[in-house]
Amino acid sequence: MNDLMSVVDWSRAQFALTAMVHWLFVPLTIGLSFIVALMETMYFRTKLEKWKKLTKFWMLLFGINFACGVATGIILEFEFGTNWSNYSWFVGDIFGAPLAIEGIFAFFMESTFIAVMFFGWNKVSRGFHLAATWLTAFGVVLSALWILVANAWMQYPAGMEFDPDQMRNVMVNFSDVVFSPVAMNKFFHTVFSGWTLGGVFVVGVACFMLFRKSNREAALMSIKLGGWVGLIGLLLTMYTGDGSAVQVSRYQPMKLAAMEGLYNGQVGQGLIGIGVLNPSKTVDNQEDPMLFSVEIPYGLSVLANHDAKSFVPGINDLLDGYTIVDGNGDTVTDLSYTEKIARGKEAQEALARYHDATAAGDEQTRAEALQVLRDNYRYFGYGYFTEPSQGVPPVALTFYSFRIMVMGGGYLLLFFLAALFCAYKKQNWLDRRWIHWVGILTIPVVWIVSEAGWVVAEVGRQPWVIQDLMPARAAISAIQSSSVQITFWMFVVIFLGLLIADVSILCREISKASKKEILK
């Protein structure tokens, strides 16, 4: 059992490491591919060489980043099999399809047209080249769509049912999988956040050019375009983020409780604007969960349900179960985790009975077991727990990540408004050193904000690999923890080397460009 838990933890760590490193490159690919396509469109429409040169400069940075995204992306696909083999079987009938479709449609599109982007300037017509650039950007978004459909399905498993004969989940409705509200919201939220990050990157690098007192025209063009893309992306990210909150409240209430560090919920629940968690607070003690907090009255009820009088359950409410009459007079209820665990075990035992009865040809027991299984299947995953507290995600990490994401988003709104204001109304302000520094230093900030968003989504989902159906401990491969430890550290070394080289090359290319006039 100890080795099992160790394998689970190391496999989690390895997947988290890979996903976080992959996510360093992906949003920039999403954002920059769109911005580059817009720049080339400007070149196509105006035929001005300066737009072509600007396009080529940003395309160069895009290419360096894209290669790293490809290198880290394939690892995730492999790890579903190598480290989460039970998961691959249990839901492979559903989960595999989006991955395959991503490959067939998106990866081939990207890999074909990116070659035209880079090597086709003198080989194909201007129109063909522009189409290739847009198709590359479209391929990137298409790739995001399918991988986010797969990810959203893990958060909200739709379009499936359990097949007791095959002892796995099977797909019964493809459009429910693809067009689930969680998938659509997650897709748009992620793509728009990529635009935001791309916008900050372009504005930040342009500020570096201005800091070096070079490429003023190129920097201004970049700030205007990057600023608009970033601002629009951010506003849409905020809008879809609101949709995410409602969905989390509905489908993953424990995640929402962890995001808020909320242990005991109430009707008209407030939202913690700023707060410090009490590190010694656990579900087993009665200590105050917060050392310090500033609360926005009714905020969480509004955020989660768009209803100030609604009830938002806390961690203890969810663990203990509740029946509450909310401010609208509606009764809301949920089972305790103890009961869910019991029903999950009942489902698992029924499945075992069903299997034995099938082998023995005992039709009556088979039918009875099947009924019990169907009645309790929605709690199947809880049957792997031995105590309710195992169902609680890491609260502190989820809580602080959520705040970093939200506050960072607020800062970025001001940043884009200020950048566009300077670019259009106060261009002389763009000669001030501190403004350059703000632009440059916002580049790491946007990455922290973006990563924090994924930490909220994925750490808050724990311990589930598939919400309510399969916890991480049941999803792993039968390998020794020492093997996963070795590969974990191997990837640490590879990623460190990759990151250092990537940042070094990007810095050198930007620095090189800042020493000459890239539009000349």
């Binding site: 797909m171 039968a478 290319e509």
Partner: protein, 380 residues
């Protein structure tokens, strides 16, 4: 469509992707030729020729894996989770390729061009050999047990377990698997020589070099390939019956080739095309279009090999630990619904192939010249 038909259809698609992947491994084969290339211009031309295709191979590998996952998830789960080290080594060998082209000549790459060329070389060697070894386990067996009932065992819920503590490394020490690995490597090197002869132009030294490389690698490949065929056609294969019982059958793969004569015919056509390309290139030195013949030939041969691996009631992933755990296209596939949905999706594959063909026809309409390598502002 019946489930059985869909399973066969998806095995055909997997076979096609596998055959395309093996053909496209010419990129890896070419990478094994870069490091020892003394002529700087020749090296640059080679890298820039291969570099424009690497993503196509990489994408085909990813799609091959994704399609296998979607259509036969029990294989993905059993093989990847069990032969952990084998797949991890394959993974790492491809990861190091993905950034090496982009980084190798960029200022600030920290480790210098030769280091990234070394990574490309390692990807070329290990990518080919280890993929060959992994496919070898599909013919010659792997050390696993599948027990689906484990899913309700809270203490040990994993359904597929690997019996060898080496978790896939043992396959590297298996003669037939390793033989296939080296056969794939020399096939890739031979194909790379043909491809480079076709894609590079304007430098007599380069042409003469790759002609010699082609002759040498073709010779080694033919010896390895014939040895592999001898081992494969005399090997024991595993056949499953309608009730799922698995039995060992001597000469199973050879019998499959005879019983499914249409694949036998494709196999022979493929072999003849490869041989024609080799002899034509040797005896007609002015012809540089051999890649088309070896490419099509390789595709047909690999397609036929995958066909005799998965069709005719053959277990495509035999278990040497428990014969009845062996995987076949009937017991390891996705459901009828998923396979059907994916079958509709697969109807778009010709469109994908068409645009890839169109784009590369435009891009490769003129061979890469030394002048292009000197003047292009985006170089690998």
């Amino acid at each position: 469509m019946t489930l059985s038909l869909l399973q066969s259809y998806w095995w055909l698609l997997i076979s096609i992707l596998g055959a395309l992947l093996v053909f496209l491994l010419f990129v890896q084969g070419g990478q094994t030729l870069i490091l020892f290339q003394k002529n700087n211009m020749a090296r640059q031309m080679t890298v820039n020729s291969l570099g424009r295709k690497w993503e196509l191979t990489f994408t085909t590998l990813v799609v091959f894996g994704g399609a296998f996952f979607a259509s036969f998830p029990l294989f993905y789960s059993t093989s990847f989770g069990g032969a952990y080290w084998l797949w991890m080594l394959i993974l790492v060998s491809f990861v190091i390729q993905a950034f090496s082209y982009e980084f190798r000549r960029k200022p600030g790459n920290l480790l210098g061009t030769r280091f990234y060329d070394l990574l490309l070389f390692l990807n070329g060697i290990f990518g080919c050999v280890l993929l060959g070894v992994a496919v070898g386990t599909m013919f010659f067996g792997a050390d696993f047990v599948v027990e689906k009932g484990n899913i309700v065992n809270g203490a040990s819920p994993v359904i597929s377990s690997w019996k060898s503590p080496l978790h896939g490394l043992e396959a590297i020490f298996s003669f037939p698997c390793l033989l296939l690995g080296f056969t794939v490597l020399y096939l890739a090197r031979m194909q790379a020589s043909f491809y480079l002869l076709n894609n590079l132009s304007g430098d007599a030294v380069v042409t003469s070099h790759y002609r010699r490389t082609m002759v040498l690698n073709s010779g080694i490949f033919l010896v390895l390939f014939l040895t592999f065929l001898a081992v494969l056609f005399t090997a024991v294969g595993y056949e499953y019956s309608a009730d799922g019982t698995v039995t060992a059958v001597q000469y199973k793969y050879l019998m499959n080739l005879v019983e499914m004569w249409w694949f036998g015919a494709l196999f022979l056509i493929g072999v003849v095309l490869v041989l024609y390309a080799i002899f034509a290139a040797i005896f007609k030195p002015g012809k540089n279009n051999g890649i088309w013949f070896t490419g099509i030939g390789t595709f047909l041969v690999i397609l036929s090999l995958f066909a005799i691996l998965g069709y005719n009631n053959t277990c495509y992933y035999p278990s040497v630990a428990d014969i009845n755990s062996s995987l076949n296209i009937a017991n390891s596939s996705s459901t009828h619904f998923t396979l059907e949905v994916m079958a509709y999706v697969s109807l778009f594959i010709p469109v994908v192939i068409l645009y890839i063909w169109y784009v590369w026809r435009k891009m490769d309409s003129k061979p890469i010249t030394p002048q292009e390598v000197l003047e292009d502002d985006h170089l690998y």
